[in-house]
């Protein structure tokens, strides 16, 4: 931990960091097989052959559905049973799983985990004010590292032995830690907060081979006088401004890989690396299946997990089609993707800040919905629905501290209680907005 640590950074609740990283080792062959599976599917030119491989994965899913109390109850009500799911085409006859339903039945959807498996419950980002609790088994927690193996080879990045991975964090919590990472080529993971005075020095000391960040963190990186050059940069921002991408390319000569993931499903797709193919996200089959031909994302998890997901709707727009991309990818590609609506707030000094960096503040408070509007440079309006009276004070305190950490020295916050219907939208909630005169 750094010495220079302003008191107002302490807006994050205590994090539980797993230090027993040697328990990752038994999962190494699995991680390799995940990467191989993704590479194999991405190289299959024959759609029928690819579909047959995916159909074969439905057997494990059928078993998981049978072991899920929620799905058994749903199927009994609808006159369905897991055996009806023999091919991907059969999925269309099964009911969708809404995000709100998963939030309500978060403890009934999972199967009973294996006795030796240690599961955790994580909360999705606070994009609705009512985050989804997600049960994850050990492999769910490690899955991104297995996918990273595939992405590294896809991007043509060559990593040194024992690569160091940095999670460059621009969230207002200021959380930092370092842990070993046996699952990823015996490497190490360092979380570095850009809010700390010595962030650049620490980053230079670590010399990361792989760097994960959001646009705020990448913007900070671009502004640095001297920065280390990772072999691969990853971001899951969904909306990565082209000017930032260009500035980053000038500063850091490494491929920038934008991927789409949700807490509930894990990684779903990655944006094609070709400049002319921006906005085209290649699906991580065979781990997940995104139903083609619809105008929204509908996910079925084909990888075994304690949390079977059948036709899950994360609430994002987009259409999936079979694709043979010039980048060499064969498979299914998500186009017209519209996830989180981009929203930027302006600090009093004129700096833009990704409003989504504040979403994290809300997931630690019980409320049904919220909307934060920047009304003037230093004035915000917070609309909350379904929040307990006693919870509003601590929420505002935490939010004000987060705003101060991001550059608003004296933020003014007006709070208003509203009905949930006042904040309802047809698609995914859009909880951040900026009024024109605030810009």
């Amino acid at each position: 931990m750094t010495e220079a640590f302003p008191a107002n950074l302490r807006v994050a609740p205590r994090a539980h960091i797993r230090r027993d990283t040697s328990t990752q080792r038994p999962h190494l062959p699995w991680a390799e097989s995940i990467a191989r599976g993704l590479a194999h599917l991405a190289s299959l030119t024959d759609e029928a052959e690819a579909r047959a491989l995916l159909d074969a994965r439905l057997k494990a899913l059928r078993g998981a559905l049978l072991a899920s109390p929620y799905y058994v109850r749903q199927f009994q009500e609808a006159g369905l049973h897991p055996g009806d799911l023999q091919r991907l085409e059969d999925l269309g006859h099964f009911p969708l799983l809404e995000r709100a339903t998963l939030a309500r039945h978060w403890d009934a959807v999972p199967t009973l985990p294996a006795e030796h498996d240690e599961c955790v419950v994580v909360k999705s980002s606070g994009s609705t004010g009512d985050p989804v609790r997600v049960v994850r088994d050990r492999r769910d927690c490690l899955h991104m590292w297995a996918v990273l193996r595939f992405l590294v080879s896809r991007a043509g990045a060559v990593l040194p032995p024992r690569p160091r991975v940095v999670l460059l964090d621009a969230l207002p919590g200021g959380l930092e830690y370092s842990v070993r990472l046996p699952i990823f080529h015996d490497g190490a993971l360092h979380r570095v907060s850009v809010l700390r005075g010595d962030a650049r020095e620490r980053l230079c000391r670590v010399r990361p081979s792989v760097l994960f960040s959001d646009p705020e963190g990448l913007r900070w990186l671009v502004e640095q006088r001297e920065a280390p050059t990772p072999r691969l940069v990853l971001t899951s921002a969904q909306h990565l401004p082209s000017e930032l991408r260009a500035a980053l390319a000038a500063k850091v000569p490494a491929p920038v890989l934008n991927y789409y993931a949700t807490t509930e499903t894990g990684p779903l797709a990655w944006e094609c690396l070709r400049d002319e193919a921006r906005g085209r996200f290649h699906v991580f089959a065979p781990d997940v299946w995104l139903e083609p031909g619809l105008d929204e994302v509908v996910v079925t998890r084909l990888r075994p997990s304690v949390l079977p997901l059948l036709r899950y709707r994360p609430g994002d727009a987009g259409t999936v089609r079979r694709d043979a991309c010039a980048c060499g990818f064969h498979g299914w590609t998500l186009e017209g993707f519209g996830g989180r609506g981009a929203c930027h707030f302006l600090t009093p000094s004129g700096r833009t800040v990704d409003a989504w960096a504040l979403a994290w503040v809300f997931k630690h408070h019980a409320l049904r919905a919220f909307r934060l509007t920047q009304v003037e440079r230093s004035r915000f309006e917070l609309e909350v629905a379904g929040a307990a009276e006693a919870d509003v004070g601590p929420l505002c305190e935490r939010l004000a501290a987060a705003l101060r950490n991001l550059g608003w020295t004296e933020p003014r916050l007006d709070v208003r209680s509203v009905e949930p219907s006042a904040l309802a939208t047809r698609a995914k909630p859009q909880p951040f907005r900026s009024l024109p005169f605030a810009r």
């Binding site: 058994v72 009994q76 006159g79 049973h81 006795e115």
Partner: protein
């Protein structure tokens, strides 16, 4: 006679049920199918004994749904062609209603899998075959679709899960108790 299941299902999708037939009309439609094949249809008494044998509330719904499927597609003509001249109508129906016992009219109307199961079980009751499928493939598909078997499987799975959860809860409780007792001794 080979039954074209996908085509039958398309025809049925194009002829949605506006209002259900009365039981008498449904019986008449089914009897007409047997007459078309020059097979003596079940008598009133036979229908009464079919109902008595079935002895469950879904039977009348199933009679109505069979009539809808026969009238709403080429199933009636195909069935007439498939029926052997020496077939016994009551035995055919008895066999069929035994097989579809857990299926409600709503399932057959709104659920693609249960409709397919209903159709295939009718084909099997007639000793018919399914187009582009070997007898083995048809049997396998029916096995996959069998809702009665699946219901039992779901019940067994639910029971096993409940017992396992109870066992773990008990183990956890015992461990907590052991820990509490040990702490007491140390103190």
């Amino acid at each position: 006679m080979r039954f074209d299941i996908p085509t039958l299902r398309k025809q049925l999708a194009a002829a949605p049920i506006v209002s259900p037939f009365s039981h008498e009309l449904a019986v008449a439609i089914i009897c007409d199918t047997f007459r078309l094949a020059n097979v003596r249809p079940p008598s009133r008494q036979d229908w009464a004994s079919l109902e008595k044998r079935a002895n469950h509330p879904l039977w009348k719904e199933q009679v109505v749904m069979l009539a809808h499927l026969l009238a709403g597609s080429s199933l009636r003509d195909d069935s007439a062609k498939a029926l052997r001249k020496n077939a016994d109508a009551t035995t055919v129906l008895q066999h069929f209603f035994d097989e579809v016992a857990p299926l409600s009219a709503e399932m057959v109307r709104s659920n693609a899998f249960r409709q397919e199961e209903f159709l295939r079980k009718w084909v099997r009751a007639l000793d018919g075959e399914v187009l582009n499928e070997s007898a083995k493939e048809s049997a396998k598909r029916l096995e996959q679709l069998d809702y009665r078997k699946a219901q039992q499987e779901m019940k067994r799975a639910e029971e096993a899960r409940r017992k396992e959860a109870q066992r773990r809860e008990e183990l956890l409780r015992e461990a907590q108790q052991r820990e509490a007792e040990a702490r007491g001794w140390r103190e």
